[in-house]
């Protein structure tokens, strides 16, 4: 379900690439500091995007040079703790934990065991995050319960299912524009993930909202793929338009890159069946100055 929202790294300006990596490393450090080492492993692009979206202000955030197990010899520029970072990291832990709870319930065999193990590893982090953000946890839990109910009843409406996941993500912000972006992001991620899992779900006999919507019993045909692409692009269009309404911030370039290039590219590869979650491999000779100024 996660790992769909990322910028097109090759189209980022050098300075933006450095900033993105500072954000990514900042999230990792914040997760470790606030929630323990195990929490670091939930980190993905989507949560980094959440941090950047929740941030405000054009001024560079405080940065520090830090080493870590991933970069033990060379210190990297890392975004320091701020309100957006603590919020995004807390929300990320809650979302990751709830996702694992769903996997434990829905999966079987080895996958179920893996999910149980991962959940046990971040249980402590979750308990801490939930104390800080009980309202968000309650919203996530309630929306996921409603979504489970729809999936159990084999809900034929794709929008109704996607709306639950979208609303869950939208509850992360009270700002109208950011709420809309998060809503459509959630909708897009849900549908893209469903399309990606279509063949596997049909084989296992599991509920798939796209199969239910289009009455599929085998892989999507051209017409279905086209219809799904259309609905994904509709959400992508809203995200792109809303990104223009955001006030300028330190992360604007990366957010717009993600909205205008990264997400459309992801949609194309999902529809083609080529989408693969790729690990983050930063360019090693790009960094920021110690005070966060661009190179």
């Amino acid at each position: 379900m996660f790992g769909y929202v990322k910028p097109e790294l090759g189209e980022l300006k050098m300075k933006e690439f450095g900033r993105f990596r500072a954000a990514y490393c900042g999230m990792c450090h914040e997760l470790k500091k606030s929630y323990g080492t195990a929490a670091r492993f939930i980190l993905n692009y989507d949560f980094v995007f959440l941090f950047m979206l929740l941030s405000e202000g054009k001024e560079p955030p405080e940065m520090k040079m830090r080493r870590c197990p991933a970069s033990p010899l060379r210190a990297r520029c890392v975004s320091c703790r701020n309100d957006a970072l603590t919020l995004a990291s807390g929300y990320s832990v809650i979302l990751a934990y709830r996702k694992l709870c769903d996997d434990v319930r829905d999966e079987n065999g080895l996958k179920k065991l893996k999910a149980k193990l991962k959940r046990a590893l971040i249980a402590r982090a979750y308990k801490k995050a939930v104390r800080r953000y009980p309202d968000f946890d309650n919203a996530v839990r309630d929306r996921l319960a409603e979504l489970t109910e729809l999936e159990k009843n084999r809900e034929p409406s794709l929008d109704r299912c996607a709306d639950k996941f979208a609303s869950l993500l939208a509850s992360a912000s009270k700002d109208r524009v950011k709420e809309q972006i998060l809503y459509h992001l959630g909708r897009l991620v849900y549908i893209a993930d469903a399309f990606n899992d279509l063949e596997e779900d049909l084989k296992k006999g599991s509920f798939n909202p796209i199969a239910a919507r289009y009455g599929l019993s085998q892989a999507a045909d051209k017409n279905t793929a086209e219809a799904v692409k259309l609905t994904l692009e509709a959400s992508s269009g809203v995200i792109s338009a809303d990104a223009e309404l955001l006030p300028d911030s330190y992360w604007t370039g990366i957010i717009k890159n993600t909205a205008d290039i990264g997400i459309p590219k992801m949609i194309t590869s999902v529809i083609k069946g080529e989408y693969v979650a790729s690990p983050f491999r930063p360019l090693r000779n790009v960094t920021l100055k110690e005070n966060g100024d661009d190179i």
């Binding site: 603590t86 807390g90 319930r105 308990k127 939930v130 104390r131 800080r132 009980p134 309650n138 839990r141």
Partner: protein, 439 residues
């Protein structure tokens, strides 16, 4: 020779013991002389002397509270007579600080103050001044007081439980929605809410848990409880866990001679309802019966509305309270027949009855069967047993039988209006007439 050596040895051994005793006695004597007679002036440090505070009530009545002290104990150098000094220890010496001085001698406002302390000696042995405190590591005690405030803060809870299939959790309920917090102003004002949380593995019934309260500040960090007083340290949370079950709706059906489930359609809207409630109640419940549909009361179909009564203690998720039942008989007809064969029976002796009015008889059956029925095949019997010797007009429920047609129904209740009058004396023995006035 040997005997002499032995004697010398014995004598020297006895002398050694004697010298030992003498030296011990002498040292005791000297020690006693020095301590009791001479009793010199000596000095001694006593460390770890505890500090106690009095006058906190005066502080709290001025909305102040003690939040910090620079030290919890003192090290004091005492001088005095040897026998007095050697008895001093941290167990029988204490220092007392009077916090009310902040109110009486200072501004009675938040801040840091240096207060003097008074030494107290445990068993009043030195009340006459046998010991003097010459110096100490602290000549005064530095205390910090802050304004004490009380606030009411909201309780926010969340939980993590796993529910088996068909079980649902309702909204969390709290024994109290808010608690009061008292303490230093800076800390209390930083508190955002009181957090309660619990975790349980698979639950199948309502959970009641007493949860410890943690205070969370605006940054989401836990607030240390030091110096903080809560109106309650725990909050009881209740998580109602109910079973949800979809139950079909059904009715008791009464068929006539002419119809059965094969030629009668019964439609119930809605067909099912989802109810929630106690698992024990719902586990064995498979259907909700709405009531009875009597297909002999109307001709070829009808509609009835029933209230949906969920199982005891359960509720309907959607809030729907009524269901509509529509039934229809297929392939039959109804036809009216003028009554021609009405009999009044069970007339009390001495009375007679006259039929004042009766309607047509409505029969239901196949077209062919109805075509074959003649009015005389329809026997109407009115029994006046219930009326007895009561005079007057009565609407009596009559029984109707169609002779020779076992697949034809009489539709509805057939009422005959009769009048009971006394038998005239001169006409005693005359039988009652049965008229078939067709109305």
């Amino acid at each position: 020779m040997d005997k002499n050596k032995q004697t010398v040895k014995n004598k020297s051994g006895k002398s050694r013991a004697l010298y030992l005793i003498i030296s011990i006695v002498a040292s005791i004597a000297i020690w006693s002389y020095i301590t009791l007679v001479e009793n010199p002036e000596v000095e001694q440090n006593v460390a770890g002397i505890p500090i106690s505070f009095i006058g906190e009530d005066t502080l709290s009545s001025n909305d102040l509270m003690l939040v910090h002290v620079n030290t919890n104990s003192l090290t004091i150098n005492f001088s005095g007579k040897w026998n007095a000094i050697t008895r001093l220890s941290k167990e029988n010496v204490s220092a007392t600080v009077d916090l009310s001085e902040i109110v009486t001698k200072h501004a009675a406002s938040p801040g840091t103050y240096q207060l003097s302390y008074t030494l107290e000696y445990g068993n009043n042995l030195f009340s006459s001044g046998g010991v003097t405190a010459k110096s100490a590591n602290y000549n005064s005690v530095t205390v910090t007081v802050e304004k004490s405030i009380t606030r009411t803060i909201q309780v926010k809870g969340t939980y993590d439980v796993s529910l088996p299939e068909s079980f649902k959790a309702r909204s969390l309920e709290y024994s109290t929605q808010s608690i009061t917090v008292s303490g230093p102003q800076a800390i209390v004002e930083s508190i955002s809410y009181a957090s309660v949380y619990f975790q349980r593995d698979e639950v199948t019934s309502t959970v009641v848990e007493e949860c410890e309260v943690l205070l969370i500040n605006h940054d989401g960090e836990e607030v240390p409880m030091e110096g903080i007083t809560l109106s309650q340290n725990t909050v009881t949370v209740t998580l109602p866990v109910v079973m949800e079950k979809q139950l079909p709706l059904d009715v008791e059906k009464i068929y006539g001679k002419s119809n059965s489930s094969e030629n009668t359609t019964i439609t119930i809207e809605p067909q099912t309802v989802t109810v929630y409630g106690d698992a024990e109640v719902l586990a064995n419940k498979e259907v909700i019966m709405l009531g009875t549909v009597n297909t002999t009361k109307l001709g070829l179909g009808g509609t009835q509305t029933f209230g949906i009564i969920p199982p005891e203690g359960c509720s309907i998720v959607s809030g729907i309270t009524t269901a509509t039942v529509t039934w229809e008989v297929i392939g039959l007809e109804t036809r009216s027949f003028a009554p021609s064969n009405t009999n009044i029976v069970d007339i009390t002796e001495g009375y007679k009855a006259e039929i004042l009015g009766q309607s047509a008889v409505v029969l239901r059956g196949t077209k062919d069967e109805l075509n074959s029925v003649l009015p005389e095949d329809i026997i109407i019997t009115v029994s006046l047993e219930e009326q007895g010797a009561v005079l007057g007009q009565f609407d009596v429920l009559a029984s109707v039988e169609v002779i020779g047609f076992d697949k034809v129904d009489v539709i509805g209740d057939y009422i005959v209006t009769v009048e009971i009058v006394p038998m005239p004396e001169e006409t005693e023995g005359e039988e009652s007439s049965s008229s078939s006035d067709f109305r």
